[in-house]
C-alpha cells in the first residue's frame, strides 16, 4: 500500500513531499499560489471551512493538503475555537476521535438550527392518557417507524413516513389561513398505525424498545412482566415473556446478542434474561441497588443501571452478580442515562448532567442544563430531566417543564438551539438519524423528520 507515504511521521513522506514540491517549481514559472501561501496560511483558510468539507474534499486535493488537514495541532486549534472541553482520560481512549467529535458536532449544529423552521408533527389519537415511552427505529426497507406505549397499556407501531404525508393544518389555521409549522395528525383513523396491541400489559407500560432491523419488540411494565412481541401477517403477537418479582422499570437489549435482555425492577434487581424460549429465563442478577432501579442500558458486554438510591452501577454480563464499579450521583438521583461511544452521561432529577467514565464510572465533570441553555442557575427550581441522548458529539436533553434542548459535546457545553418549549409535559425523547420524537403526558407524540 502506498498510503504510509502520507503519514506525517514517516520520513519517506517528507521526501515525497519535497520532491513533489520541487518538481512543481520547475514546471510552474508563473505565480504559484502555493508559494504565496505557506502551510500555516493554508491551514487558516481551511479553518474557515466546515470540518467535514476539509476531511472529505480538501484532504483529497494533494498529499500536502492531506497532511495539513490531518495535522493534530490544527484540530486542537479548531477544538479551542469552538470551545470543546473534554477530560484528558476521554481523549486518550483508543476509540476517541477529535476529528469525529468536531466534524459530527458541526453537522449536529446545522441539524438543530433547522429545527425551529421545520414542520412539527403533532400526532394524537394513538393513546389515552400519558405515553411513557417511545423509540425510533428503521425497517430493513428504510421506512421510518416509531413504537410507543403508556399508561393505557397499549403498544402502537407508527409509520412516520405516513405521518408526514397525512399531516394537515389545524382547523383554526385553515380558517384563518395562517401559516404555521405545526401539522396535526390524528391517529384515530389508524392510517398511520401499522400495528397495535391493546391490553399488552396488566398495568402501565414503562418501556418499549426494539433493536433496529429486527422483527421483535420488547416491553415491560407495572404488572411485573417483560414481554416479547413478534410481527406476524395477522398482526403483533406475544411470543414470549417472564414474570419478575416486582414492577419492571428498565429494559434494554444486549448489543450483538439476540438472545439476551437486561431488565431492572422496582425491588432492586438488575437481571439478565435469556429470551430464546417462549418462557424467558433469568440467567443472572445483582441487587447492588438499595432502592428502585429506574433504568438500564447496555453497550457491548457492559450494563449500566441507575436507581433512586442515586447509585449508577456498572456490571458485566459475563459476571453480572459481581458489579464492576459504582458511583453515587450528588444531590439527586439520575433519572436518565445515555451511553455514547466514549462517555456516559447521567441526567438527574435536579436537572444536572454528569459525564462519567464508561470504564470505571469516575466523574469527569458536570453542568446544569438550564444554566447552560438560559444562563440562569436553576438550583432552586430544579427541572428534572426526562430524556438524554448522548450521541458522542452532542447531547439532546428533555426536561419535565417541556424544554427540548441540544447541547454541544463536552464538559463546558453550549446550547445549539434556542430551547424549544413544548406544550405540555413530555415523558421521553428519542433521536436517530436526525429524526426527533418526543412522547407527551397528554397522549401525543411530537415528531420532526430529518430536514
Amino acid at each position: 500500500s502506498l498510503l504510509p507515504l502520507f503519514f506525517p511521521f514517516n520520513p519517506s513522506f517528507h521526501l515525497c513531499l519535497r520532491t513533489w514540491a520541487q518538481s512543481k517549481r520547475v514546471v510552474e514559472m508563473r505565480i504559484d499560489s502555493l508559494d504565496a501561501l505557506p502551510p500555516e496560511l493554508l491551514q487558516s483558510i481551511f479553518g474557515h471551512l466546515p470540518a467535514h468539507f476539509c476531511l472529505s474534499t480538501v484532504a483529497r486535493v494533494c498529499p500536502l493538503f492531506y497532511r495539513l488537514v490531518h495535522d493534530e495541532n490544527w484540530w486542537n486549534g479548531r477544538k479551542k475555537a469552538v470551545g470543546v472541553v473534554l477530560d484528558e482520560r476521554e481523549e486518550r481512549r483508543d476509540n476517541f476521535s477529535l476529528q469525529r467529535v468536531i466534524c459530527s458536532g458541526e453537522r449536529e449544529e446545522d441539524r438543530w438550527r433547522k429545527l425551529s423552521t421545520q414542520t412539527m408533527y403533532s400526532i394524537s389519537g394513538g393513546h389515552y392518557g400519558a405515553i411513557n415511552t417511545c423509540k425510533l427505529y428503521t425497517e430493513m426497507s428504510g421506512g421510518k417507524r416509531c413504537v410507543s406505549a403508556g399508561r393505557d397499556r397499549t403498544i402502537r407501531l407508527w409509520d412516520l413516513d405516513r405521518v408526514v404525508t397525512e399531516a394537515v393544518l389545524t382547523e383554526e389555521e385553515e380558517e384563518e389561513g395562517e401559516t404555521s409549522n405545526v401539522r396535526v395528525v390524528s391517529g384515530r383513523e389508524k392510517k398511520e398505525i401499522l400495528h397495535s396491541v391493546d391490553d399488552a400489559h396488566g398495568g402501565w407500560i414503562w418501556i418499549v424498545t426494539r433493536p433496529n432491523s429486527s422483527n421483535v419488540t420488547y416491553s415491560c411494565g407495572w404488572d411485573n412482566m417483560v414481554k416479547r412481541w413478534q410481527i406476524t401477517p395477522s398482526g403483533m403477537k406475544e411470543s414470549g415473556g417472564i414474570s419478575l418479582s416486582s414492577a419492571v422499570l428498565g429494559l434494554d437489549w444486549i448489543d450483538g446478542s439476540e438472545n439476551e435482555l437486561i431488565s431492572t425492577t422496582f425491588l432492586r434487581r438488575v437481571s439478565l434474561l435469556d429470551v430464546r424460549e417462549k418462557m424467558m429465563e433469568c440467567k443472572d442478577e445483582h441487587s447492588e441497588h438499595r432502592n428502585a432501579v429506574i433504568g438500564v442500558t447496555s453497550k457491548g458486554k457492559y450494563v449500566y443501571s441507575w436507581g433512586e438510591d442515586r447509585l449508577v452501577v456498572l456490571s458485566d454480563i459475563r459476571n453480572l452478580s459481581s458489579p464492576v464499579a459504582k458511583v453515587t450521583i450528588p444531590r439527586a438521583y439520575a433519572s436518565q442515562l445515555s451511553i455514547g461511544p466514549t462517555s456516559v452521561v447521567a441526567g438527574t432529577m435536579k436537572g444536572e448532567c454528569f459525564y462519567l467514565d464508561p470504564i470505571n464510572l469516575e466523574t469527569w465533570g458536570s453542568f446544569d442544563v438550564q444554566e447552560v441553555c438560559e444562563g440562569t442557575a436553576s438550583k432552586i427550581s430544579a427541572n428534572p430531566l426526562r430524556g438524554i441522548i448522548n450521541t458522542g458529539h452532542s447531547l439532546v436533553t428533555l426536561s419535565k417543564l417541556g424544554k427540548l434542548n441540544a447541547l454541544s459535546y463536552g464538559l463546558k457545553p453550549r446550547s445549539l438551539i434556542d430551547s424549544l418549549k413544548l406544550d405540555g409535559e413530555p415523558s421521553k425523547v428519542d433521536y436517530m438519524n436526525d429524526d426527533v420524537i418526543v412522547s407527551m403526558g397528554d397522549g401525543r407524540l411530537v415528531y420532526w423528520s430529518k430536514p
Binding site: 502506498l2 514546471v27 505565480i31 501561501l37 487558516s44 483558510i45 480538501v58 469552538v82
Partner: protein, 167 residues
C-alpha cells in the same frame, strides 16, 4: 505625519502614520528604529524596508487600509459560546477583493500575514475559503494550480481512511 515604506522592488510609498500603524509589523519596526509620531525628523530620515511585499501588492494593502483606518478596533469575541464562527466580510471588502484573481489573492493574503494586518488577513482567508467551499477536490487543485499526481489506487486509499465522514 507621514511614513516611508519601501517594497521589495524598491518602490517607495509615503503613507499616513496612522495607516502605517495598522500593520503590527511596521509598527514594531518603527519602534525599533525609534520613529515616533511627534518626531518628524525620525520619520523623514528613515524608511521602512518591506522585502516581502511587492509594489503591486503594497498598493492594494494601502487601499484597504485607507478604507479601514477609522474602523473601531473590533473586539474579538472571547468564545462567547458561539461555536464555529464565520468571519463576515463587509460589502466594501467583498467589492474590493472581487476582481482579484486567485493567485493575487493568495499573494495579498501572504502580505497581510507578513504585515500582520488582522482585518485584511481574515477578510482574505474567509474570501478564499468561500471560493473553495462546495467545490470538488480536482477543482480546488486547479484553483491552486496543483497537479495531483496521485494514482487512482492512492486516491481510493485516502477515501477509505476518511470514509466515516462520507454522507
Amino acid at each position: 505625519p507621514n511614513v516611508k515604506l519601501v517594497t521589495s522592488d524598491n518602490e517607495e510609498f509615503v503613507v499616513d502614520f496612522r495607516i502605517a500603524k495598522m500593520s503590527v509589523t511596521v509598527s514594531r519596526l518603527m519602534e525599533a528604529m525609534n520613529m515616533s509620531e511627534t518626531d518628524d525628523a525620525s520619520l523623514l530620515s528613515n524608511s521602512i524596508p518591506l522585502p516581502n511585499v511587492t509594489k503591486a501588492v503594497m498598493a492594494r494593502v494601502i487601499e484597504w487600509c485607507e478604507k479601514h483606518k477609522n474602523d473601531e478596533p473590533k473586539e474579538e469575541k472571547e468564545n462567547d459560546k458561539r461555536g464555529r464562527t464565520t468571519h463576515v466580510v463587509s460589502d466594501w471588502d467583498k467589492e474590493f477583493l472581487k476582481n482579484d484573481e486567485f493567485g493575487r489573492l493568495c499573494q495579498l493574503m501572504g502580505a497581510a500575514n507578513y504585515l500582520e494586518i488582522k482585518g485584511l488577513f481574515n477578510d482574505i482567508s474567509q474570501t478564499i475559503a468561500n471560493m473553495i467551499h462546495g467545490k470538488k477536490s480536482d477543482e480546488i487543485a486547479e484553483m491552486f494550480n496543483i497537479h495531483c499526481d496521485l494514482t487512482e489506487a492512492e486516491k481510493k486509499e485516502i477515501r477509505k481512511k476518511t470514509a466515516w465522514c462520507e454522507d
